[in-house]
């Protein structure tokens, strides 16, 4: 079953499926770009042959400016350059679907997304003295962008620098909008990050493979380690119910490779496990890509 996307009230691939990417409104350019990604997502999901994922939540999960912002809420303060970078990525996705892409991360995979790819990432512990995983996740993601694009410029941002930039309040934690703002804070210019809605495990894998495989852009996941519906999807978080962030630096068929600031070494989960982790969170299911 190919996932479908509803954009501006218009269903592209079907009427019954929830949105799997950010709602895009406003200019024609942005709408076309979003339609692009919708159709290519469907194509890619079929081509990749990945599982369609678990059942989504039984009741609609809300968007929220803090915990699950809509595309409009996220893009309010974007510069024209950030819109340009975002649309350029969507164009690449469309080119991939059309077979006209000319970009790629591998010499043997020009114009395609490799089936497996592992980008560079410096793993940063959240640490006992630090209060949350959001800034550690941003620090890890920045390290990849610095290595490949020098954006933010070398030397690598440190955890304390990122915490200061994010103006973190330890007693509250990290909201999704904060992580997205930090990733787009002006010191990196290659990828305009968005929390995009995902409807199933295939969508999580797809968003990850597009960013990591095509652009070496790490992605971020926000979820919860337990819910009554999904249980404990992450093998190393049994018996604990915890909100958490971690980034992905790689993927292979059916798997996503993450650098968890709690465990601070490489680990891989199935696409399904990451999706259920995201789905455990009571707000709309999203990936920062």
């Amino acid at each position: 079953m190919a996932p479908s996307v509803r954009i501006d009230g218009e269903s592209l691939l079907g009427d019954s499926e929830p949105s799997s990417h950010p709602h895009v409104g406003g200019t024609t350019v942005r709408k076309r770009a979003a339609m692009t990604i919708a159709s290519s997502f469907g194509a890619m999901a079929i081509l990749m042959g990945v599982p369609t994922g678990a059942l989504a939540s039984e009741s609609p999960k809300p968007h929220d400016p803090l915990n699950a912002p809509t595309f409009q809420q996220q893009s309010t303060n974007w510069t024209s350059a950030q819109f340009q970078a975002y649309n350029a990525k969507l164009q690449e996705v469309q080119d991939l679907a059309n077979g006209t892409a000319s970009l790629g991360t591998q010499p043997n995979c020009i114009g395609c997304i490799p089936s497996s790819y592992y980008a560079n990432m410096n793993v940063v512990y959240e640490g006992k003295a630090d209060c949350m995983c959001g800034p550690a996740t941003a620090t890890e993601m920045f390290s990849t962008l610095t290595q490949y694009y020098n954006s933010p410029p070398y030397p690598y941002l440190t955890l304390s620098q990122v915490e200061a930039q994010m103006k973190i309040t330890c007693s509250i934690g990290t909201y999704r909008y904060q992580l997205q703002n930090e990733m787009n804070n002006g010191s990196q210019h290659v990828n305009t990050y968005v929390w995009g809605d995902v409807a199933n495990a295939s969508a999580v894998h797809y968003d990850t493979s597009v960013d990591v495989g095509l652009g070496q852009y790490p992605v971020g996941y926000d979820g919860e380690t337990y819910s009554s519906r999904n249980g404990y999807p992450l093998d190393n978080y049994q018996g604990v119910n915890w909100d958490h962030y971690f980034p992905a630096y790689g993927y292979s068929p059916g798997y996503l490779y993450v650098a968890d600031p709690h465990y601070a070494y490489d680990h891989h989960y199935t696409d399904e496990a990451v999706y259920l982790f995201i789905d455990n969170f009571p707000y709309a299911n999203q990936v920062l890509w």
Partner: protein, 389 residues
């Protein structure tokens, strides 16, 4: 499209090492390549040199709960306990707020404990005799600390409640306790008022609390009990300990003899995590910084360390058998400590048996999450194949 790499020397070294750069104290480089990292695949490697046997077992439905989740399972004798919610799974913000108990042969569930502080009862259930030990806590925002935690013991025959330990302010909120109950005692770790990790014990028969006299140089966590021994992870040996929080604390395996106060080291490898001691055996998950995790074990008296298999989730033992969920194989595995037989347990027709589970005599009780079980919960069990393991 590959951009400039600011530190090419470091990157080259990492690639030579096989796509995963060596660990540094604070930062690990994960190097980009199209080959899987070393942890991408793993194979169960029993040290008993036995080929992997496969046993297909039929599950038995024990109790249907309808659209309510099961947070954890525990058992003692013929009593099965589980955490659940008063709200159905369709409620996005539901939490485990009750603990229920039912008899194995006549399952008539009754609530024996509830969340009294608005917290979550998701954590482990440990049972000894007719006592059930559980933790109520609430995460502080999205941080790795808690707003509060309460460690309690409840007697399911008369609902007598004992507050074993709690924290509502101060350093103790930085780490949730890890705890075990066996042979009429409860043991747990917690941070004291100066932020040092200590092991506390409560004797349910005598009604006495004690603090184990451990050297100040040790950082004891994840304690477990068997007879007169408390086995724990000494996180002070982990080179990465300064950056770890309580989820990920690993270390060497130490044994404290309650009769002599003598401490011995059962495994000096600093990658041990979440041990369990039962009978004469200690098992744990070895979590190296790179590569797959393994379920390992050693005799309580010490000796050679045995690796039973890889990618374990929540391994449990009763001293004669080890059972775990293999996160690569997606099945339960069982290893006989006498026979040294490793058996891949195929239960029913589920492609993935990922469940909460409890080892109860010769049975393993398990509950799949509703997402894998038709949007409802059923507690089931299977009987371990005595002849195989």
């Amino acid at each position: 499209m590959v951009g400039r790499t600011p530190d090419p020397a470091r990157r080259a070294v990492g690639r030579t090492a096989g796509c995963l750069a060596a660990l540094t104290l604070l930062i690990i480089g994960l190097e980009g390549c199209a080959e899987p990292p070393s942890s991408a695949s793993s194979t169960a490697t029993p040290s008993g040199n036995q080929p992997l046997a496969v046993d297909r077992l039929d599950p038995h439905d024990w109790l249907s709960l309808g659209p309510y989740g099961v947070g954890n399972l525990g058992c003692s004798g013929d009593e099965i306990a589980w955490t659940s919610s008063t709200q159905p799974i369709s409620k996005q913000n539901n939490r485990n707020d009750v603990i229920k108990v039912a008899n194995l042969t006549a399952p008539d569930p009754r609530v024996v404990a509830s969340a009294r502080h608005g917290g979550d009862l998701t954590d482990a259930l440990r049972a000894t005799g007719s006592w059930l030990v559980y933790l109520e806590y609430r995460q502080n925002g999205q941080t790795s600390s808690a707003d509060f935690w309460y460690l309690n013991a409840v007697n399911w025959t008369n609902e007598q409640l004992i507050g074993l330990a709690s924290a509502t302010s101060g350093p103790a909120l930085q780490e949730l306790p890890s705890y075990d109950a066996a042979d009429g005692r409860v043991v747990w770790n917690q941070l004291n008022s100066t932020g040092e990790s200590i092991l506390r014990m409560y004797d349910l028969g005598k009604g006495q609390w004690t603090t184990l006299p451990l050297p100040a140089t040790m950082y004891p966590v994840q304690p477990t009990l068997s007879a007169n021994s408390v086995v724990f992870v000494d996180n002070s040996t982990d080179p990465y300990r300064a950056q770890e929080d309580f989820f990920s604390r690993r270390g060497s395996i130490r044994r404290f003899d309650l009769s002599t106060n003598k401490i011995t080291t059962l495994s000096s490898d600093p990658s041990a995590w979440m041990p369990q001691a039962r009978g004469d055996e200690v098992i744990w998950t070895a979590m190296p910084s790179t590569g797959p995790s393994a379920v390992s074990g050693v005799q309580l008296e010490g000796g050679p360390i045995t690796a039973f298999g890889s990618d374990p989730v929540a391994p449990l033992t009763d001293g004669s058998i080890v059972v775990w969920y293999d996160s690569s194989d997606l099945n339960f595995m069982a290893f006989g400590l006498s026979s040294h037989h490793l058996v891949d347990l195929k239960i029913g027709n589920w492609p993935d048996i990922r469940s909460v589970f409890a080892l109860c005599g010769d049975r393993v009780f398990f509950a799949l999450p509703p997402v894998l079980d038709g949007s409802s919960s059923t507690i089931r069990y299977f009987v371990l194949p005595a002849g195989q393991v």
